[in-house]
Symmetry: C2
Subunit: 265 residues, 2 copies
């Protein structure tokens, strides 16, 4: 089973939680890929430089100066300090952005109603799965930051959740070609700062263990799913439809135990 694991900016920005997570991640058997954000730190650096982060519908408007900041933070400090910690704990990691070895060639989002600037959109066909496989065959664990490129010289700020699901789908296709029954075995795991999807968002004990498309529709109809979770879950069901074996949403501290929400078809 190949595992694609995504951690968000709140985990990356919490040194204790991050090191516990890194130790657990390093201890996991089998091929694995880590995708990380770093948005909390990027906003902080923008403020230290006297600029105000501009977010529209949860996405960062990325002008040239902001592109420099997010590249420095995600592909620089977050990526390399995560890799150094993984190396400390015996995991031979490599920190990559989408420009490296042309790993993810994205499309600059056209300026419509909103001009997000240097923001890239990705889909599974844009992932260089062959290069990721060649690294994993050498025992090297890819750590991917949410910076891509347009192959015309521009870096692009890209949503880390979408990178994680696109990588998972691309790896599913690559793996399916290799297994005897043609079935892929790829899990996509989103780690954040809640135990999973909660029935009552203010009650941590109301964890939903499993969500199917039918129960998801019912939860949405009841207004039980927090607005911020909807893109993540929509995205997850699309990944399942596209060949990913399972998607799990869980707390970063629970990487190695069974606590979390499993999405399945």
């Amino acid at each position: 089973m190949q595992k694609i694991i995504k951690i968000g900016g709140n985990v990356v920005d919490n040194p204790e939680l991050l090191e516990k997570f890194i130790i657990d991640f390093a201890a996991m058997d089998g091929p694995k890929i880590l995708v990380h954000g770093g948005g909390v730190m990027a906003s902080q650096l923008q403020k230290e430089l006297g600029r105000q982060p501009v977010m529209i519908e949860g996405r960062r408007v990325t002008d040239e100066e902001t592109l420099k900041v997010v590249t420095m933070v995600y592909a620089g400090w977050c990526s390399k300090s995560i890799v150094a910690l993984l190396q400390k704990h015996g995991c031979n990691a490599i920190g990559l952005c989408g420009a490296d070895a042309n790993l993810i060639e994205a499309t600059k989002r056209p300026a419509g109603r909103i001009d997000y600037g240097f923001v890239g959109d990705v889909d599974p066909s844009m992932i260089n799965a062959g290069f990721l496989l060649s690294l994993m065959e050498q025992g090297i664990t890819p750590v991917i930051s949410a910076i891509t490129h347009d192959k015309a010289g521009s870096l692009l700020n890209t949503n880390a959740d979408t990178i994680a699901s696109s990588v998972a789908v691309a790896m599913s296709h690559a793996e399916a070609a290799k297994t005897e029954d043609g079935k892929p075995y790829v899990s996509l795991i989103y780690c954040f700062e809640k135990d999973g999807v909660l029935y009552d968002k203010d009650d941590d004990s109301s964890l939903i263990r499993e969500i199917t498309p039918a129960s998801y529709a019912a939860l949405k109809a009841e207004g039980r799913v927090a607005a911020g979770m909807i893109p993540k879950l929509d995205n997850s069901f699309r990944a399942l439809d596209s060949g990913v074996s399972r998607v799990i949403v869980k707390h970063a501290r629970n990487l190695l135990n069974g606590i979390g929400t499993t999405l399945c078809l």
Copy 2:
């Protein structure tokens, strides 16, 4: 002939010179590795963040905050924007620091008369030449930033000239094992903002075409070598003694032509 090419912070910080250099570098045939600095930009970011860069004998004193800045600048913005430009010009590059795939495990410099903080020292035995070769065999060009690690979780700020010569020596040993006559074929090329070593430092037309250990001793005795060049040239002669075929010092704009100073034994 394998080429290890180093560009300094003044080249990285000059967008026109950098893009011309990148186009030339992308056009060069054969296996090649780029090592880059970024010190000018790092000092600028330190100042924008309200801190004063502290340099002693040309080396940056690197406390925790400075380590974060140099990692963001060298391994983040400089590395990834160089890689994106190389991809634009048809060179399949990958940006690496020493923590990535355990490429360069350095030793933290002990605090002596001066405590440089998070500064690492390297030698050729610390370079993971096998990983560089495996990338080059896949047609991927390594771009190395001057950040290493101690394998105990710390990143370390490291001199880019020393990384370049250590990589060149390590690749010489790896290449010598592969050639029929046991001879390595590795060039080390330092690109900076002068045509090479000048006989009169204020006269750009006084370029010295070739320096041997004997002529170098004479130049030093006459006081003809600028103080800043001495560590670079000492380092270069050590690389020649350790198996590198030739060392060339030249202007970044002259990468593809013969103008420069060649050091030979």
